[in-house]
């Protein structure tokens, strides 16, 4: 698997406080990689180290096959689009004038502005100054700036912040399509598991600056524990017979069973004169796995 971002033991400390600690991140080329972690876990600092805005205390980062150093960061960033923390927008300029600055810095053609504005649906803002934009519109403008020049890698730090539900959906779809339509890899951070689940093929879970888990998101789903929950006419006896526990809501919990075993269990209960009222297959939510991995809540 070719990696377009790879870090080795990447660390950042401010004084005695280590905000990123020995991070080994691997973003496969042409994929959407969800970088998940609670607020303050070290996601933004990691992204800043990838573009050379923050100097690592230890370890190294390789982006698009080149190790990031103060000397070559501008060269690497010419192929990277980024939206880190808040979007950079000049409030006294229009959306087009803002993108003109990015266009000039990247040495792109004038058509790149129209293309970027159309992608984020800001092409009709005309002479409206950015100071009159909503938070969502500013976020879209930041995304447009990141997308300009068709970068090989996009670093998006909580890109759906401030967007309305329709905007969130639109941006998620855009991110999902980017690897297919433009062949670029996307490293997208969020503190919302559901968001990452909907967009990403790979996920890295960071907690207290350390990588708690990393891999394809389907493997994370596969880790989810499954079980059967049943309500019967005599739950206490059913639990005794099945050597099962009763949860706080009064459901008898039985480990995951195949079809044959489930059939045998229901017949056994019937023979004992216990009727099954409800039988449900349950699986652990991703949130629960996240909680176990990070030891914290999914979202603040």
């Amino acid at each position: 698997m070719e990696a377009c971002v790879a870090t080795r033991g990447l660390s950042k400390a401010y004084g005695k406080s280590e905000v990123v600690s020995g991070l080994n991140l691997c973003v496969p080329a042409g994929s959407v990689y969800g970088f998940l972690g609670p607020n303050g876990a070290g996601k933004t600092t990691t992204m800043k180290m990838l573009v050379g805005l923050v100097r690592p205390s230890n370890g190294s980062a390789t982006v698009l096959g080149k190790q990031v150093t103060p000397r070559n960061r501008v060269l690497i960033n010419a192929r990277v689009g980024s939206l880190i923390e808040s979007p950079s927008c000049y409030p006294h300029l229009t959306a087009r004038e803002n993108l003109e600055i990015v266009r000039s810095l990247r040495g792109l053609s004038k058509s790149a502005i129209d293309e970027a504005l159309a992608t984020v649906r800001l092409e009709r803002t005309g002479t409206k100054l950015v100071r009159a934009f909503s938070l969502g519109m500013k976020q879209r403008l930041g995304l447009a700036a990141a997308l300009m020049g068709k970068p090989d890698l996009l670093l998006l730090d909580e890109p759906t912040n401030g967007l309305d539900p329709a905007g969130i959906q639109e941006i998620r779809e855009l991110i999902r399509e980017l690897p297919v339509e433009r062949g670029c890899a996307v490293l997208v951070s969020s503190h919302l598991l559901s968001e990452i689940d909907q967009m990403s093929e790979y996920v890295g879970i960071i907690s207290h600056g350390k990588m708690a888990w990393q891999g394809p998101i389907r493997e994370l789903h596969a880790q989810a524990r499954r079980w059967l929950a049943l309500r019967t006419t005599d739950d206490t006896r059913a639990a005794q017979l099945l050597e099962a526990a009763i949860d706080a809501d009064g459901w008898v919990q039985v480990g995951a069973l195949g079809d044959d075993d489930a059939a045998r269990m229901s017949l056994m209960l019937m023979r004992e004169g216990i009727g099954i009222i409800r039988l449900e297959e349950r699986r652990e939510e991703l949130e629960d796995i996240f909680l176990k991995l990070t030891g914290t809540g999914v979202s603040l």
Binding site: K48, V51, G52, L53, V54, R55, R73, V74, N77, A78, V80, S82, I84, E85, S86, P87, S88, C89, Y90, P91, H92, L93, E97, E100, I101, V102, S104, L105, R106, L129, A145
Partner: protein, 248 residues
């Protein structure tokens, strides 16, 4: 050139040129009032203006240079644009572009003022207009003094996002400029806004018996220019190192 053009593009709608016009107009108005006291056709009219303008500049151009330097830095603070700019640009060209932009604006302001003084002198029908070298020295001496203020205030404006600090420094320099000519030359050299008069080649003396002013020319003070360049270079290096070390 691209970075310089970008700096001017960022200043679009910031009304910088309006501020330049207002400040130069205020300076010229003051110079004109002084010139009128001598009356039309006054034999030392040109000298009186070349003496008065640097005095006014130490107040007005000091303030203008501080405002321009602050604006040029603040435009990126306000947009939270440093992280985007530094992803795509090296620190040195970025800061050089900002410095060049501020100096170019101040060059325009100084050129406008020089042209304004010439226009006033011609309108007042002063005899024997000084030659091009005198005007060139006047222009470059005033611009060099502006550069000093731009570098000092610009360094502060880059360092602290809150522009109150840089503008307050500009105001303090402007006020110091007002009184700097009353200080002994050694102390005057410690005041950046004092260089407007230090680098000026026109001096004044008073005839005790008549209390009449006598204007005279002195050679250009290369030593003061070198000192100003050294102060500017020190601030420039500090600003560059401090900005480069900072993580955005």
């Amino acid at each position: 050139m691209r970075t310089l053009a970008l700096e001017f593009a960022k200043l679009h709608r910031k009304r910088v040129w309006l501020i330049v016009l207002a400040m130069v107009a205020a300076t010229l108005a003051w110079v004109y009032v002084g010139a009128r006291q001598g009356g039309a056709g006054s034999p030392d009219g040109w000298q009186s203006m070349l003496y008065a303008a640097p005095l006014m500049n130490s107040v007005f151009l000091s303030l203008l240079a501080a405002v321009v330097a602050s604006r040029v830095a603040d435009v990126d603070h306000e947009a939270d644009a440093w992280k985007e700019l530094l992803c795509l640009q090296r620190t040195a060209p970025l800061l050089a572009g900002k410095l060049a932009c501020a100096v170019l604006i101040m060059a325009c302001a100084t050129a406008l003022e020089t042209a304004g003084i010439i226009a006033i002198g011609l309108a007042m029908d002063f005899p024997t207009m000084p030659g091009t070298p005198t005007w060139a020295v006047f222009f470059f001496s005033q611009l060099a003094s502006c550069l000093g203020i731009v570098v000092i205030v610009g360094s502060i404006a880059l360092r602290w996002e809150n522009q109150f600090v840089s503008i307050a420094t500009g105001l303090a320099l402007s006020l110091a400029g007002l009184f700097s000519s009353f200080l002994p030359a050694v102390l005057q050299r410690l005041v950046p806004s004092g260089y407007f008069t230090l680098l000026s080649c026109t001096r004044i003396d008073w005839v005790a018996s008549t209390s009449a002013p006598v204007f005279y020319e002195v050679p250009f003070s290369w030593g003061d220019l070198v000192l100003l360049a050294a102060i500017s270079a020190t601030f420039l290096s500090w600003s560059y190192m401090s900005f480069s070390r900072r993580e955005h």
